[in-house]
Symmetry: D2
Subunit: 417 residues, 4 copies
């Protein structure tokens, strides 16, 4: 068996921690049982590029129980948990990832994962999809799955250029994923990452969040819930108006820069906070990113203007500026909740990964022949995941009576009815 | 000039109150100027069935400034403000509406409004659209606009039955309408209506909201913000999960009935709270509806089981139950924020009515020939309304640099970038 | 029987509305039964100067059931409900109050109430207490009770000048009063009053609250819960820091004046918002007061600089300013929740008035001979009121075991224990 | 120089981290300068038993700059940071503490700290005070300072037994301490500790907080702000009512036990969660304590009924119960925010420790001769600390004009004024 990980001896701790995550993923565990019974993925090979966390291990374990052969590389050099890698290798998964690996190694690992000649690629940032498209066509791949906003943007750009070779399901875009994982999951892990990296005091702090998408509003709600005053920066007029009416202050980044104590980017866009902003900030300002790629804060630009740099705590670097002030970069500008904390909790990843598992099942099922393109998660999958989660939480919904269903489809009822 | 209103002498007070609303509708006022300059609706006739409030008057004034001839009936017998009717008649609009009119009069007024032979019908609950479809085909009507969830459901049902005769734009479904008016507007006016009708104490009260759509979550947020404990009832699994993760308790109505102090329906569905629920409620429970039609609380069923009924305050009726308890119905089960309070504030109606005004302009423009069907608001209209509102609020957005636009459309950038 | 009210014919509506309030005052109703059984106030005369609301009627009814003879005047010319006055007269209480009475009448009514030669005065702003001290000593009065922050300040000033002639219990200062009535009650009725007077849109509005005492923080919490952005002005450093750490912006009034859409005073201080502030405000700014006296907003100063004045809605006056802008004064600068809405809801007045009822019992009980001075509510009264309320809400507390009581009083347990 | 620490080589990292804390403690740094200038503590010896964190180091550094000789032991065996100990020793402070030391060592270290023969003891849980009182009288000690609720309870019990030998200032009870550190500081660090120990998902979780004092309400607010549903358990009727009106559910622990996903104690009482509660809990329930001593959760009782125990993550122990379920204890039942996270952030400890520093100054000043007893912080100290903090935050207060001061002290102004 092929693999490249830090230390196989970490497997026991990995298994223990995976077990803790698994306790909080009832939907995925139920799917695992179903997959095992029907041997849903017998003979199928899957390559995955994911944040290698305990929750990811539970997903892969469900696919493996269904008979799949799996190769795994990282989707971020700093989010890999070495103990999880070890446990997965012990379970028979080909893992090519080490915490803190450099970029050439990271890219080499992607190639190694693809060497399995996968039927399906499962992506978190589209690195596998892009790697396949940067290589000659061919191989067994019939479909892809993409989990993040950033990756979906890339897949759509590929499709717009008429280059996409196979269907890709945009798991990110489905309600049971982005309403939950982005808002509540990233919302929590961003706060968690900021606290672990800095132990800063949120009550009374001014937190500037760039982007009021699902991640951004999850962060804003929680920051406010912890006592911070929140300022939002946006490029979209409707989102900006929502932020206003949610009671938040909306400013341009140029206006917000001198006011913030903590800055968080969650946009999917590059160069959101730039040198002109760093220079306008208060002494001691904290800079954190929650977007998938490390391009939202212009770290290169920061390094260029800095007169000095030192690590003051784990995941916290001080940059002295020519104006005599200092700003502090968290987690090197990589996604703070993955790097400085432990990514989204298992209980919410249960939804996203159940979507992934069911989409894998859908795409590897010969009946569904899809043309190349970016697809939504089939709505019955979305609905089923939500239903399973509510059952696990023991929550009852109301149901419509036949009369109510009739009412819903009639146009005769009204003020006169 | 033809009209049927309560008392023309109320016109001065109506004008004064309309002026107060107009102060808070900068977007509509800007559109009014544009319409007047280009005489955008010269020669066009519009029939409208709307809640006749001060904000509606500002909308109609903008259309009239563009040259339109307008006939107006109510969209709810209890939401009509007689002083506004008088002011509108004084301004030359054909108004057929009186507060508290009975159902036959209400329906007769709809027919009178349609007697203008409109080119366009503007609806709030689809009563005009349905009335036209219950009559023989013919006339000048080329398009309709529908403002509410309930009305859009009816228009879609008509389209599904292949009976819809002209294009209808579902203003309700556009972000600048339902994200704002439904959530923040109805959210506020529902709380306002409950307080005016009852002076009940929200802090520590248990408020049960049926429906966690945009209206429902606006109500839930505000009820909580006023100190209430909120329970949500839903039929949709994804919305139910959102409510759970927003920190609210989710129960079936049968489970919630004995727990609630205040019940609010916001579903668009009939028979949401029924006799079996009334009988399970605490003595003193309050029943309010925020849906468009008065069918969400089963008032007929309540009357059937009640052993006595009396009005205890304006807009508040006591129903004695055979179990010795009493429940209290607000505003006869009609939408509480329109009847017991003053509907959504001008500042948020500014958005919805700007959508209506611009959609009217779009539909009456000969260039846009649409087949019968239910359509979304064109996205450039939506975007423009939001932009105008932000300008009026003096709020600045960030804008993308050319490099950022390129980043957005590229698939090459990634972890390797 | 002597009285001076608007119209005795309003009694039936008054009774009906009092009945509605009484439903939500279980503690007071239980005390009423006790007082009636023991005829607790037989032969005692009480003069009261209170906001004459339905809740006040329930309090007086409890005292009357105990045998007291009662004379009542208003504590604010604009908070008197004429239908309540009528109902009280019908029940045999001497009422001297009419809605909107002018100042000479108001003062005359105070004298008429005192003509009963009371054993106890019950005050809301200390007008009775002050009137007694502005007259020669003598009469039957043995004690007073004061309900508001503003009135307690006056009683303490009198005591500090060594002029106070009898003991006064500061009901306002007891936890079951000011933690609840001031924070949750005034918090709610202020929002309610603002909405009824203006139908303004709170979501996205900037609300400036002057004073972060219990009233101010109740208003701030609720304004925020309705979607407003809140700015706090304070003179006290500790309260200001609390506001900061509650996530609110703290500014001086000079800094806040140009930023606010809505201003609310809740300070107990005079001249909090002055001409220099009015002139710095945005066109359309709203001015509301929640303090007991109409001195917090400098209305005289506003009138002096105004170039025009008109009433634009009930309880809403426009003042044109020399700079071309206009500001809007609610309820003539009197307490907005009492005048434009219905004062604090019955469910919370149940606590304050239970305190008043039990303090009356305590003070009229010959055993408690107190020297002149301002006293706290006896803590067993406070505790009893809270316990009775919890019982009415059917809420269970934990209780300490004997071992836990021992732990509480021991100093031996610690890290070594 | 005498000390007993883990490893002096950790000093550099300690200094670096202390520097990070110091950045966020502007008030303490200003006091440090003042103390240094006046050599305020020259010739004085101070023994301290404190959580040995980076913030504590900044406090001790300020005292040392004033000339004090300092000996330090821990106030909790698990909250000691070994790198901070090393840095302090390098700076010349006698430190007797190691992370995870056993109870005999812990107690021995207390004795070693007292061997300095202090003039003043500074306590966090009263262990030094109690140790002095368990020894024969004598020595140089003239005063004590106590920082926690739990320690003040012990000092008061000692005073009630007429055993207290010297004055003790209850820093815990002063507004700039418990309004801030307890509410906002412990509120945040408790959430932080729970997340670090478990990575649990707060959105939608039911969190039961025992105790609605300042710590408890800080925890409740933040838990809710992170999306949890909060249940409160109380023994005090007034606090329970406040929780109700803050929109929280109030239940007895017996009622709450089967409902909670996460339990947090913040009471200062022993045996709050007991075996009968553990057995009623859901499988997977989390148990955390935020009170000073590890007695709030009955850990001994839990061990007694458990059929198995294992550590599943750092600071997280699983206890299998005879009913087949498991519950999870965080941080061995010791204060979770100190043990699993990093205690309250520097920015809020700046207030508490400024109080401590100024009280030290006050007590060691020969002019203030106090009899044995428990004293409040002098109010001018409290006020000064708040003022200094506001200055550091660049926040302006309003100030009273002479007319306003006069108004405040007059009883003549009123409705007639």
């Amino acid at each position: 068996m092929s693999y490249d990980i830090r230390d196989l001896a970490l497997a026991q701790r990995g298994h223990q921690r995976i077990q803790w995550a698994s306790r909080h993923m009832p939907v995925l565990n139920q799917l695992k049982e179903e997959f095992a019974t029907e041997q849903a993925f017998r003979g199928k090979r899957i390559a995955a590029s994911l944040h290698i966390t305990t929750e990811t291990a539970v997903l892969l374990s469900a696919l493996q129980a269904g008979g799949a052969e799996i190769a795994l590389s990282a989707s971020n050099p700093l989010s890999t948990k070495d103990d999880v890698c070890a446990a997965l290798v012990e379970d028979g998964i080909h893992v090519y990832a080490q915490y803190g690996e450099d970029l050439p190694t990271y890219q080499c690992h992607i190639k190694q994962a693809l060497a399995i000649d996968p039927h399906l690629v499962m992506d978190d940032g589209a690195d596998l999809i892009i790697a396949l498209h940067n290589s000659p066509a061919g191989g067994s791949v019939v479909a892809g799955i993409e989990e993040t906003t950033s990756g979906v943007v890339r897949a759509r750009a590929l499709a717009a250029d008429k280059l996409l070779r196979f269907p890709v399901i945009a798991v990110n875009d489905t309600p049971t994923k982005h309403y939950f994982d982005n808002r509540y999951g990233t919302g929590q892990n961003t706060i968690d990452g900021i606290l672990r990296a800095t132990n800063t005091f949120l009550a009374g702090a001014t937190l500037v969040v760039a982007g009021y998408g699902w991640c951004g509003r999850g962060i804003a709600m929680r920051a406010r819930g912890m006592g911070a005053r929140v300022i939002v920066c946006e490029i979209n007029a409707i989102r900006a108006l929502e932020a206003v009416m949610d009671g938040l202050q909306v400013l341009s980044m140029a206006e917000a820069a001198p006011l913030g104590d903590i800055f968080v980017t969650a946009t999917g866009m590059a160069g959101v906070i730039r040198p002109e902003h760093f220079l306008a900030m208060k002494d001691g300002a904290l800079l954190a990113n929650s977007g998938h790629f490390d391009v939202e804060i212009d770290v290169a630009g920061l390094r260029q203007i800095a007169t000095g740099e030192q690590e003051v705590r784990e995941h916290l670097s001080e940059y002295q500026l020519p104006n005599g002030r200092a700003v502090y970069l968290l987690a090197q500008g990589r996604l703070v909740g993955q790097v400085a904390a432990e990514a989204s909790p298992a209980a919410v990843m249960d939804l996203s990964f159940a979507d992934q598992a069911l989409c894998t099942h859908y795409l590897l099922n010969a009946q569904h022949q899809l043309a190349p393109g970016v697809y939504d998660v089939p709505s019955d999958i979305d609905e089923r995941v939500a239903q399973l989660k509510l059952q696990a939480l023991d929550i009852k919904l109301d149901t419509l009576s036949p009369e109510q269903v009739a009412y819903q489809h009639s146009w005769q009822y009204g003020t006169e009815g």
